[in-house]
Amino acid sequence: MKLSSVLSARFEKPDSHLLEGYRADGGYETFLSVLSEKRDPDELTALVKASGLRGRGGAGFSTGMKWSFVPKDTGKPVYLCVNGDESEPGTYKDRQILEFDPHALLEGVGIACYAIGSHKAYVYLRCEFQLGCERIQAAIDEAYAAGLFGKNIEGSGFDLDVHLTMGAGAYICGEETSLLNSIEGVRPYPRNKPPFPAVEGLFGCPTIVNNVETITNIPHIVKRGAEWHAGLGNSDDPGTRLWCVSGHVATRGVWEIETGYKLQDLIDGPCGGIRDGKKLKAVIPGGSSSKVLLPEEVAQVTMDTPGIRAFGSSLGSAAIIVLDEDTDMVDALVNLMKFYAHESCGQCTPCREGTPWIVKILVRINEGRGRLEDLELLDDLAVNIEGRTVCALADGACWPLTSILKKFRHEFVAKIPSAASTEEVVGA
C-alpha cells in the first residue's frame, strides 16, 4: 500500500486555498482548455463514465452514468449541486478539500457544469464548516474577479454562476433531495422518487448532485484521461480516495490511497496500529452507516466496492472508525443510534418512531434493564424500518444496529439480567 497524492497534493502548501498558488500549480488550465477547445459535453460525460469514477458521497454510483441521465432539450435550466453537507459520523474528507484546496473543487464545478450543460451551480456546505464556508466563498469571489466565473468566460461564450449555500445543521440535508429542498428554502424532507433529480430536481429542473470529492476528481480525470483514472486501484472501483480514520488508532487522520489496498495495512501503517498497544475489536469501515467488521474480516478485506461487499459492508463515505478491545459495543451502538434518532427528519413513520424506540431499548439494555426478547425485537424493528422509508438514511440507521447486534450479540446478552420480568426491567 502506498499513499497517493492527487487530490491531496496541494493540502500542505502554504496558502493552498488562494487562487494565485492554485494557478501557479496549473490550476484552471483544464477548465479553460475545455472552454477554448469547445470540447463536446457528451464526450466529457463519456470520458468520466469511462474513467470508472464512482460517487464519493456514500452510494458509490457511477458519476458519468449519473450525468448521462440529464435529459436534453427540456427547455429548462440544468443545475449542478455540490454536496458538501459532510455529516456522516467519522467523515471529514471533504472538509480537507474545502479548507485546503477550494479552487480544485471550483475547477471541477466548472468542468462538470460544462459537461452537463449547466450555467448555475450551488455549493451546499454544512454551516459548521466555518473555515470551509469562508474559503469557498473567498475562492468563488476570486474566481469571479479573475473572470473564471460569470458571463462569457474568457470569451468562450460559456456562462457560469456559482453560489455558496449553507445548511443549518441537519444531517438529513446531506440526502440529495433534502439538499435540494434546503436550497429551495423549504423544509428539508427527502423527496419521493421517481422523479429522480437528474430529471426533476432543483426548482423542478434537471439537476445533478455530486459530492465534493467526486467533483474534485473531475479536473484530474479530464486532464490525465479516463485510462489513467481507470488504472488506479481496483478496476471495478478505481481512483484514489481520501480515507479518514478516527477512533482508537495511534494516529488519526486523512490519507489519500488508491482503492484496493488492505485495510489492515492502513491501520498498521500510517495509523501506527491500535493505540496503547491494545487489540483491535471492530472497524466501522465506511462511515457510521456501514456494517461493522470483525478483526478477522479487517485482516482480509480490501478497500474497494467489490472487496468490501464480499464482507457484507460498504465503503460509504470512506470514514474508517476503529474500535479497540476496551470498547463497550453496546455503549458504542447507543451512541450511534442516538445520532440517528436525533437526526431523523421525522418525515416517515418507521424512521421517526422506530429510531427513538430503538434508542430507548438500547439504553435500557445498556443500563442493565434489558430482556432477551429485546434483541429479537430490535432485529424485527430494523426489518420494519429498512426499505420502508422515502430515503436511504433509515436503512443506514439499521445497518450498524443489525450488524453490531449480530456480531457482538454476546455483549448485549451479558448486560441482560437473567430471568427478569418485563415489569422489573422496564419499571412499569
Partner: protein, 491 residues
C-alpha cells in the same frame, strides 16, 4: 393505456394513474392510507400504503405516489406487504396515547380502523411514551393534541393546496416533530374546520363538537347544507332529535371534500324552540278542513293576493304550494331572499339553498313596486319585507317558529318544517338538483310543507309520497317547455 397486474388481476389504466387509484377504482381494493387524501394528494410520509412492485421486497413502493407502469406486477397484500403495514401500525401506535376512551375521533378514526385490521392486540412497546402538548388552541374553533398526531401533514397541506396559505407547519425534527402554528398566530381561515374532518386521528378536534356526544350514539343523514346556494353535500349528525354537527360529504362537482365554517356551524340555527305546531285560525287551534274553507273565503278569486315563499323550501314544497294557489286564481308568486358575504371559494352570497329551484318553478323576487295587496300567504322560513304587510286584509303565515307575525298579525297560522327536516329537491346556483333528506324529526304537528298543501288541494290520492310530487313537478316543468325537468328526488 397502461396494462398491469394487481394481486393477480389484470387492469388497464390511463397513464399517470397511481397504484392506489388503480386498485381502488378498477378492483375495489382499499389500500390503507393516511397521508393521501383524494382532494389534497399525498405526501408519502405515512408509509402505510406500501405495496410490492415486481417482487422487490427490499424496497416497497408507496402506492399513493407510484404511477402504474406497463407490465408491472403489484402485490397489495402479500406477506411482505402485510408485515410492513403491521410494522407501520406498530410505529404509529408506539407513542400514540391510545386514549380512545376520551377521544372524540373514536368511532370514526382510521387509526382505530386500520388498527383492528392490521394492528396487534398487544404492544411490544414497553417504554415510556413520549409526551407532547395535549391541548393547543389552534383557534377558537380547532383544538390540537400533539400526542395523538401521526404527522401525516394533511392539515398543513389542506391550507397549502386548497387555501394557498401556510398557517401551519411542522416544527422540530424526528420523533419530536410537531404540527405548529406559524408566526401569524391562531388560524383565521374561514374554512379551517375542514382540517378536523381530514385529520385521520383525534389530533384536531372541533371545539364546538368535542365532548358533546359519541358518534356511535348519533344518527347521520346524507343531505345538503342549507347555508347557501352552493349546495355543499353534508352529513348531518344528531342525537335524540337535536342536531350536533354538519360535516362535508365528498361531491367532486360541488364541494369536493370541503365546506365553509359558517355553513358547518349553521346547524345550531335549526335546534329551535317555540315551534309552530298544528294549524290555527284567529289564534284558535283548527282542523285543516276548516283552514281550507277559511282560506278559500279569504283568497276569493285570488286577485290582490300574493304568495311569498322561502327559498329554503324544497322544490316539492314550492310546487305543491303553487299548485294550490294557482287553482285559486293567485298569480303573484314571490320568493324571499337572504344574503351573506360570498368568499370566492364555496360560500355564495345567496344564503339560501334553493333560489334557483324557486325561480324554475316560476317564483320571482319580491317586486319593488308590486301590485296593491289584499292578502299575503307567507310560506316557510323567510323574512317578510315590512312594506308587504301594510294595508293587508289578511295574512297567512306558514312558519317554523312563533313570532309577532304568527301570534298577532296572522289570521291563519300553519306549521312549516325547517330546511333540515325536509325531503325533496333543492337546485343550487349552478343549476344542479340535489336530493335532501330530513336530518331530524320536528315532532308532532309539523307535517312536511308539501304534504300540508296536498291536503288543502285534496291531492292525497295523487301524491302518496314526495316522489309523486317530484314526478308531477317535472312533468309540469317539461310542459312549460322553457324549463328542463329537475332530477327526481331520491325516494
Amino acid at each position: 393505456m397502461i396494462k398491469l397486474t394487481i394481486d393477480g388481476q389484470e387492469v388497464e389504466v390511463a397513464p399517470g394513474t397511481t397504484i392506489l387509484e388503480a386498485a381502488r377504482d378498477e378492483l375495489g381494493i382499499d389500500i390503507p392510507h393516511y397521508c393521501y387524501h383524494r382532494d389534497i394528494g399525498s405526501d408519502g410520509n405515512c408509509r402505510i400504503c406500501l405495496v410490492e412492485v415486481n417482487g422487490n421486497s427490499g424496497k416497497l413502493a408507496i402506492s399513493c405516489q407510484m404511477p402504474c407502469g406497463n407490465d408491472m406486477k403489484v402485490e397489495t397484500a402479500n406477506d411482505v406487504v402485510v408485515k410492513a403495514r403491521k410494522g407501520v401500525m406498530e410505529f404509529l401506535l408506539a407513542n400514540h396515547p391510545l386514549d380512545c376512551t376520551i377521544c372524540d375521533q373514536a368511532g370514526e378514526c382510521p387509526l382505530q380502523e386500520y388498527s383492528y385490521e392490521y394492528g396487534s392486540a398487544e404492544s411490544r412497546f414497553v417504554e415510556h411514551k413520549r409526551n407532547k402538548p395535549k391541548h393547543t388552541e389552534f383557534s377558537d374553533k380547532v383544538m390540537f393534541d400533539a400526542e395523538r398526531c401521526i404527522l401525516c401533514t394533511r392539515c398543513v397541506r389542506f391550507f397549502e393546496e386548497v387555501r394557498d396559505d401556510r398557517p401551519l407547519g411542522v416544527e422540530g425534527m424526528g420523533g419530536e416533530s410537531m404540527i405548529s402554528l406559524g408566526p401569524n398566530g391562531p388560524l383565521t381561515d374561514p374554512y379551517q374546520m375542514n382540517i378536523i374532518d381530514i385529520c385521520p386521528v383525534g389530533a384536531l378536534t372541533s371545539r364546538d363538537f368535542r365532548f358533546k356526544q359519541r358518534v356511535w350514539f348519533m344518527d347521520f343523514v346524507d343531505t345538503v347544507c342549507p347555508g347557501c346556494s352552493r349546495g355543499c353535500n353534508i352529513s348531518a349528525g344528531s342525537y335524540q332529535g337535536k342536531l350536533l354537527r354538519f360535516t362535508p360529504r365528498r361531491n367532486a362537482e360541488v364541494n369536493k371534500s370541503w365546506m365553509c365554517d359558517d355553513g358547518r356551524l349553521s346547524y345550531s340555527d335549526y335546534n329551535l324552540t317555540d315551534r309552530v305546531r298544528g294549524a290555527r285560525i284567529d289564534g284558535q287551534a283548527a282542523f285543516l278542513d276548516s283552514v281550507g274553507e277559511r282560506l278559500d273565503a279569504l283568497v276569493g278569486d285570488g286577485s290582490g293576493v300574493a304568495v311569498l315563499a322561502s327559498t329554503k323550501s324544497s322544490c316539492e314544497d314550492l310546487f305543491a304550494l303553487r299548485h294550490w294557489a294557482e287553482s285559486r286564481g293567485v298569480t303573484n308568486f314571490w320568493h324571499g331572499a337572504a344574503s351573506w358575504e360570498a368568499d370566492g371559494f364555496l360560500k355564495q352570497a345567496d344564503a339560501t339553498p334553493n333560489t334557483a329551484g324557486a325561480q324554475q318553478l316560476g317564483y320571482e323576487p319580491v317586486p319593488g313596486d308590486g301590485p296593491a295587496l289584499r292578502g299575503l300567504i307567507v310560506s316557510g322560513d323567510v323574512e317578510v319585507p315590512p312594506a308587504l304587510l301594510a294595508d293587508l286584509d289578511f295574512l297567512v303565515m306558514q312558519a317554523v317558529q312563533e313570532s309577532a307575525l304568527t301570534t298577532e298579525a296572522a289570521v291563519i297560522v300553519l306549521p312549516a318544517r325547517t330546511a333540515v327536516e325536509k325531503k325533496g329537491t333543492w337546485v343550487n346556483s349552478a343549476g344542479l338538483a340535489q336530493a335532501i333528506a330530513p336530518a331530524v324529526d320536528p315532532g308532532d304537528g309539523v307535517p312536511e310543507d308539501w304534504a300540508l298543501w296536498r291536503e288543502l288541494s285534496k291531492k292525497v290520492e295523487d301524491w302518496p309520497s314526495v316522489r309523486y310530487v317530484t314526478a308531477e313537478m317535472n312533468a309540469w316543468l317539461a310542459d312549460r317547455s322553457t324549463q328542463t325537468p329537475l332530477v327526481a328526488a331520491d325516494s
